[in-house]
């Protein structure tokens, strides 16, 4: 339906997340309350052309997956992001820092009874080996995912959350990237990285000898250059020189700052993007939004990377009436 490109429904609205405004996030949070309703939104997106689901692994999304599994409406491709950093930051606040969070995760792993994860966790704790702890954590998260979605669930990729990716990238912790790739491949899952610093990440991975072919990258791509660090041009240039990797764009609507046609036009003009992830909060929005992007992905307008759609000028966003523009 979209050629060979991915059209994923993103989970941000299900958690009340909006990068346009917190006011919008609050209204989203108030509107989406039950797993049945959110599962309905995912199902509507799938009916309208979505062929995958990009989500953070947490209780809300696991419940959605379990519901979709029961109704046999699971999307064909599951792209899971770990860890759900928001939950861990909140835990750190309430539990008094990193030690408190580590204890909480350790307890969850024990309670989950995943023996492989327990073994790696014990080994990592005793020897002080962070790679073994990372392996234990990933084994636990993939186990949680499969328990909710089914052992034969179509887990296309597990991606490292942008906060962890970008922090490890900044601190040049090459072992995180190497261990993440190795651990997931051992679990039979394609590894990926969620990042807001794609050019820096790709450059460093290559310098560290981490093969980018066969990896999944999720990064912001939009006509406004929103969250495209260090710049829209640099991100588009990196995209043009990333053979063999799967690149999924998020924030294509710049969190609602751009109109649907503007965002769709940009996506259509980026033939090297392998897919897009879009968050919607109602079934009606799912139907209208995914139909537009399904068509945009099919069109594959051949603008060269780095240029974007010709003559593109930003206009106010589609989610609220905006009476003026920034200077």
């Amino acid at each position: 339906m979209t050629g060979d490109r991915l059209l994923l429904i993103g989970d941000n609205p299900f958690h009340g997340v909006s990068h346009l405004s917190q006011a919008r996030a609050r209204s989203r949070q108030a509107g989406i309350t039950t797993p049945a309703r959110t599962s309905g939104v995912v199902a509507a997106a799938v009916e309208s052309g979505a062929n995958g689901f990009l989500f953070s692994v947490n209780e809300t999304t696991l419940t959605i997956l379990a519901t979709l599994r029961q109704t046999q409406q699971l999307p064909v491709g599951l792209y899971a992001i770990v860890p759900y950093s928001y939950e861990y930051v909140r835990s750190a606040i309430a539990l008094g820092g990193i030690q408190g969070v580590a204890r909480k995760v350790g307890r969850e792993i024990v309670l989950a009874g995943n023996w492989r994860a327990l073994l790696d966790g014990a080994r990592g704790t005793v020897t002080g080996n962070p790679q073994a702890l990372l392996r234990a954590y990933l084994t636990y998260e993939v186990g949680r995912l499969r328990a909710a979605a089914g052992s034969k669930a179509p887990v296309a990729s597990v991606l490292l959350h942008e906060v962890v990716t970008d922090m490890a990238l900044a601190l040049e912790m090459d072992w995180v990237f190497k261990a993440f790739v190795r651990s997931l491949r051992a679990l039979g899952v394609m590894p990926g990285f969620d990042t807001r610093n794609l050019p820096t990440l790709v450059r460093r991975l290559r310098a560290w000898g981490v093969e980018t072919r066969g990896l999944v990258f999720a990064a912001p791509f939009n006509a406004a250059g929103f969250q495209m660090s260090p710049s829209r041009e640099a991100c588009e240039q990196t995209l043009a020189d990333l053979p063999g990797a799967t690149v999924i764009a998020f924030s294509v609507l710049a969190a609602g700052y751009l109109s649907l046609p503007e965002a769709a036009e940009y996506v259509a003009g980026m033939p090297r993007l392998d897919g897009v992830a879009i968050g919607v909060s109602t079934t009606e929005q799912a139907r209208s939004t995914f139909a537009v992007f399904r068509d945009a992905l099919r069109r594959r307008v051949g603008h060269p990377a780095g240029s974007g759609p010709p003559g593109h000028e930003l206009v106010p966003g589609n989610y609220e009436a905006v009476g003026g523009r920034s200077s």
Partner: protein, 327 residues
Amino acid sequence: MALTVGIVGLGKMGFLHASLLSTLPGVEVRAVCEPQGSVRRFGGKMLPAIRFVRTVGELKGLDLDAVYVTTPPQSHAAVVRTVLGGGIAAHLFVEKPLAGSAREGEEMVALARAHGGVTMVGYQKRFAVTFRKARDLLRDGAVGEVRSADAYAYSSDFAQAGAHHPQARARGGVLRDLGCHAVDLLLWFFGDVDEVSRAAEGAAETGGILAALTTTSGLSCTLSVSASRAEYRLPEVGMTVTGSRGRLSVNGDRVEVEPQGGGRVVWHRHGLHDHVAFLLAEPEYHREDEHFIQTICSGGRASPDVEDGARVEAVIDRMEDVLPKTA
């Protein structure tokens, strides 16, 4: 030669600053001081190029140019005393709030003056493009003569646990921990505060603190603070300013001007040149660290420095004197 930095306290903010500093050209994060043994042990394994020590005094002799203090606020004064008094580093960045009291703030100002060097306090909202735009608009008379300002700081950090949770107290209380951002913005926008009193009504509405302040220029302000607002998934700080010719509202997402004659104008952060070289958390953190490092290299005074931070402490102490202890 690289500018060398030490971090005291490897919690959430310590990690964030260590990461961002590592991306700045010519900066080396050389040492971390962390009292928790397990964090030190795993930190040392994860970041082998960084020296981990237990006490602040052990940073002496490591040839540090600057120290970041990212411990709980009650410990800031003691750390600053050791760093400056012990000649550990010449330049100092202290996370917000500067201190646990106005008296400690004054002590730090005296110490900083005696030792010279660049000081800075982590009020990163000043580096958000929306607050900068709002300040410029007010200076340019976008709403005419300013008559009043209503500032707020809300979060859901303790919506479940309650404001009297031990971690809320460990962070200096809700007013000091969260409200300090709004106080700093009021001081930055409108100058020193002359009078502080308990606001007549509205505290129950906000579920937190409501204070009335008058600036030395005679401007009437209110300040509303709560960390128990479940609908605020992320902390939000903002302000509404009423002038003779209209009203301006600003938060981290947008600035909005409503002239009396109509014709609302909105600037989203997306359109305000919000790019940074490396994006981790919000872009303002990168700008903040960059400003500190650039000020050290070029000489001069960073803004906000410890004197600005001490002014916030003085206002908060006065608020604590007049307000009931119900954050």
